[in-house]
């Protein structure tokens, strides 16, 4: 996993969605009981990732499982990022 990307995504989640940093691990289930995100949060994640990496994860076909954790989001960004 690209920890540089993961750290940026984590920071974005903490800032945009007010998730307590100490409760957020790379493998935390974002939409499960751990963090409890919902559909509004997923919109914010799409916007946040586009702002950070220029990757339109929605347009690039991200599926529900890609939003599962910071790890899966990182993998998706890494695969679709244009350098």
């Amino acid at each position: 996993m690209n920890t540089e990307i993961a750290e940026k995504i984590k920071g974005m989640l903490v800032e945009r969605l007010r998730i307590p940093e100490d409760e957020l691990e790379y493998d935390s289930e974002l939409f499960g009981d751990d963090i409890g995100l919902d559909s509004i949060d997923s919109i914010e994640i799409i916007v946040g990732i586009e702002a950070l990496f220029g990757v339109d994860i929605s347009g690039a076909g991200a599926k529900k499982e890609d939003f599962r954790s910071i790890e899966t989001l990182t993998a998706f960004v890494e695969a679709h990022k244009e350098d």
């Binding site: 945009r16 969605l17 007010r18 998730i19 307590p20 409760e23 009981d33 751990d34 963090i35 409890g36 995100l37 919902d38 559909s39 509004i40 949060d41 919109i43 914010e44 916007v47 702002a51």
Partner: protein, 754 residues
């Protein structure tokens, strides 16, 4: 006749929106299926995926004389038409009786934009914009414009605000708090709402098409104002009567801050409440003006709700007029109420436009057994018509209009009301910031079982509100269960509401662009988010209203909560006063010149009181702090209209004297007053001089703001709560809590021993 069965009638209509300049023009346009939706002109939407809006193509100056925020200007325009239509001479004595209750979602959003445009550039903002930003300013300004002297209130329950305002006006009349009200709602087109719904991906890419393509809403703007009047008052002055307002329903989803319950339970509950309170059957309703926004979530749950509750009604017509007017947010319920009254009066139902032949085929499936009126108007006799509004925060409101009077089903026997629980959150003084801040550590919430996954969504105002609500429930020993969840309601008073969230959201889109609003932050910019979160966290599914009307809002919430119990809507109400103190609030009050040397010290907090009827308190053996013996409000119309917080000896005296009269207590028997003095000498001196005239020199006056700061609506609630505690502890036998606020409204509540 019981007071609460008083006939209420509609005697005047005023309407302005994208399809017309007055009620007649709007109704004719609606019948013709003329849409007001076009490309947005108010601001540049080129970066957005949608460019549509239903704007009123008139400048503020064309709408109204004088300088007002656009939301207020629209309200003044529609109120003027309603006054004229009702034949009211506002230069005569009747003007002193006319109250003003208006709903708004976004309040002074146009002024918020202007003010923060200046601030972001590092310039000094215009103080007139600043004064016009909060919802608290709207009704008072409209009342002052027309010299109306009755009670004012601003209802701020987002998209249900227009309908809720009408509901409150009806209750005020039936509760003996006035005989005639200008009631409705107003909201302007705004970059704030546009960016917010854009962020939520809730805007339709092209013209909205409710119950059809259901791919989103199209925002609109406008105002609807109805003259709601007691039948006796209308007859006495020879007014023409459009129809009766039978009754209303108000409920909470307790589900999600923006989305309706997919199972439609909250919507079905509110429709059922309105039908039951009106004393009619589901099969009696001929026409429903649906909320029908055009989002998939709304349209699916609303069709499900209508098909389920009206299963036995085989001749029900339904339409949504939002396909033409756009979604006018806090004005929507009022705009639709005017169109519904016109439909009932003329026997013509305006259609929902935008259906192709293919769409009409699909509609047959979706609409079930409902006669959905698409594309073309339908002529039919309408005896009973309903208008529904569902809002962010899970707030639902429904109202029933009727051609003829009816025996209502508001048969709640008269009962004493008690304070049976108190929850307080107050600020502690900070020497550095020179203000008072509350402790909102996560651990405090955890001790009440609030998960951090939920808490993170709440803005500061909502957090303070949630905490005081939870403390009040705990103090009263009240557990919310599936059996009582519908018999408990919430009423919140606030001065500034979520101004911090509003300002930060606006600053964000000024900086980053209208297409870059935060979907996470936007839901918290509505004033009723705090009440919505409280219902979600506690499971309370009854009445839910938020009133923004200056510092006295904490007392006004007690009055409205008492009304909701008196009419049998609920057994128990949580009545709160809540205001926050953030850097934004600090800046606003400093810019207004109200803090600093010789000024007030800003505080924050939330106080929730559990108000309960005698039989409910007795059944669960609840402790009783005190009895609510009387309350009254009075508004000034004689002072300087440019100062909406003007001091008025006459109005303060009237509020106190009337509250004592209601409680059957002589001024000489009053033991104590929890006053509103806040360290500003002009206010403190004025207050003491009035009390001395009424009660003599020896009256004990307690001023809590010295220790807790000016926490605005939280302070007035706190005055009430502290008095209740003093009575409970045997320190005093009775007392008054007194406050005043924007729109020069003075309120007094009398508490006695339980």
């Amino acid at each position: 006749m019981l007071m609460n069965e008083k006939r209420c009638v509609i005697t005047g209509l005023g309407l302005v929106c994208a399809i017309g300049d007055d009620a007649n023009e709007c109704f004719e346009s609606a019948l013709e299926g003329k849409s007001g939706i076009a490309d947005v002109k108010s601001f540049d939407t080129s970066a957005c995926y949608s460019h549509k809006g239903a704007e009123v193509l008139k400048s503020n100056e064309e709408l109204v004389d004088g300088r007002y925020d656009r939301t207020t200007a629209l309200g003044i325009k529609a109120a003027g038409e309603a006054i004229k239509d009702a034949g009211l001479d506002m230069e005569s004595d009747v003007s002193s009786e006319v109250g003003v209750i208006l709903g708004s979602c976004i309040a002074g959003a146009a002024c918020v934009e202007k003010y923060y445009n200046s601030k972001v550039k590092g310039e000094k903002g215009d103080i007139e914009d600043l004064k016009a930003m909060p919802a608290s300013a709207i009704s008072g300004n409209v009342a002052d414009y027309y010299n109306a002297g009755g009670i004012t209130a601003n209802i701020v329950n987002a998209c249900a605000a227009g309908t809720l305002s009408l509901a409150l006006a009806v209750d005020m009349i039936r509760g003996g708090k006035g005989d005639i009200f200008l009631a409705g709602g107003c909201d302007s087109f705004s970059s704030l709402a546009y960016a917010g719904f854009h962020a939520l991906r809730a805007l339709a890419p092209s013209d909205c098409s409710p119950f059809n393509h259901s791919d989103g809403i199209t925002l609109g703007e406008g105002a609807g104002v109805l003259v709601v009047e007691s039948y006796e008052h209308a007859v006495k002055r020879g007014a023409k009567i459009y129809c009766d307002v039978l009754s209303t329903g108000v409920s909470s989803d307790a589900y999600h801050i923006t989305a309706p319950r997919p199972d439609g339970q909250g919507q079905m509950s509110v429709i059922s409440r309105a039908v039951k309170n009106s004393g009619i059957k589901f099969s009696d309703i001929d026409y429903v003006n649906a909320h029908g926004t055009g989002t998939a979530k709304n349209d699916e749950s609303e069709f499900l709700s209508l098909n389920t509750v009206f299963a036995e009604n085989n001749d029900l017509s339904v339409s949504s007029t939002k396909s033409m007017t756009g979604h006018c947010l806090g004005a929507a319920g009022a705009v639709e109420a005017v169109l519904t009254v016109k439909a009932l009066k003329e026997g013509k139902i305006p259609p929902t436009t935008g259906y192709s032949d293919e769409d009409l085929e699909v509609l047959k499936e979706k609409a079930g057994h409902i006669n959905f009126v698409a594309n073309k108007p339908v002529e039919r006799d309408i005896k009973y018509a309903m208008s529904n509004s569902f809002a962010f925060g899970g707030n639902n409101a429904s109202i029933v209009f009727a051609k003829d009077p009816n025996t209502l089903n508001l048969t709640c026997p008269k009962q004493e009301l008690y304070v049976t629980g108190i929850g307080m959150v107050t600020g502690e003084y900070n020497d550095e910031t020179k203000n008072y801040k509350a402790n909102l550590e996560t651990e405090v919430f955890k001790s009440y079982g609030v998960k951090s996954a939920f808490l993170r969504k709440l803005d500061r105002l909502s957090q303070i509100q949630l905490l005081s609500g939870l403390k009040a429930l705990e103090d009263s020993g009240l557990e919310v269960t599936p059996e009582n969840e519908g018999a408990i309601g919430i009423c919140i008073g606030t001065t500034d509401g979520p101004m911090t969230e509003i300002a930060n959201f606006q600053k964000g889109i000024i900086k980053d662009g209208i297409d870059k609003g935060s979907a996470f932050a936007f839901p918290n910019t509505v004033y009723n988010a705090a009440g919505g979160y409280l219902s979600i966290a506690t499971g309370i599914k009854g009445y839910n209203v938020t009133i923004a009307n200056g510092f006295q809002s904490g007392l006004q919430s007690i009055c409205a909560a008492s009304g909701a119990i008196m009419f049998g809507y609920e057994d128990i109400m949580l009545a709160s006063g809540t205001d926050e103190c953030t850097d934004i609030d600090d800046e606003i009050y400093a810019d207004l010149g109200l803090t600093g040397e010789g000024g007030m010290k800003l505080g924050e907090g939330s106080v929730t009181c559990v108000i309960e009827k005698d039989s409910s308190a007795a059944a669960r053996g609840a402790k009783r702090y005190a009895k609510i013996a009387g309350f009254s409000s009075a508004r000034d119309t004689s002072g300087n209209r440019l100062d909406n917080s003007r001091l008025s000896e006459e109005s303060l005296t009237k509020a106190i004297v009337n509250a004592l009269k209601k409680g059957g207590i002589d001024a000489s028997d009053v033991k104590c007053i929890y006053g509103f003095g806040n360290g500003v000498s002009a206010i403190d001196d004025f207050e003491m001089s009035v009390y001395k005239k009424i009660f003599g020199d020896s009256i004990e006056v307690k001023l809590i703001k010295k220790e807790l700061g000016e926490a605005r609506a939280a302070s007035s609630s706190m005055q009430f709560a502290m008095l209740a505690k003093d009575i409970y502890e045997g320190k005093v036998a009775n007392g008054l809590a007194v406050s005043f606020g924007t729109s020069a409204l003075y309120s007094a509540v009398l508490l006695t021993k339980a």
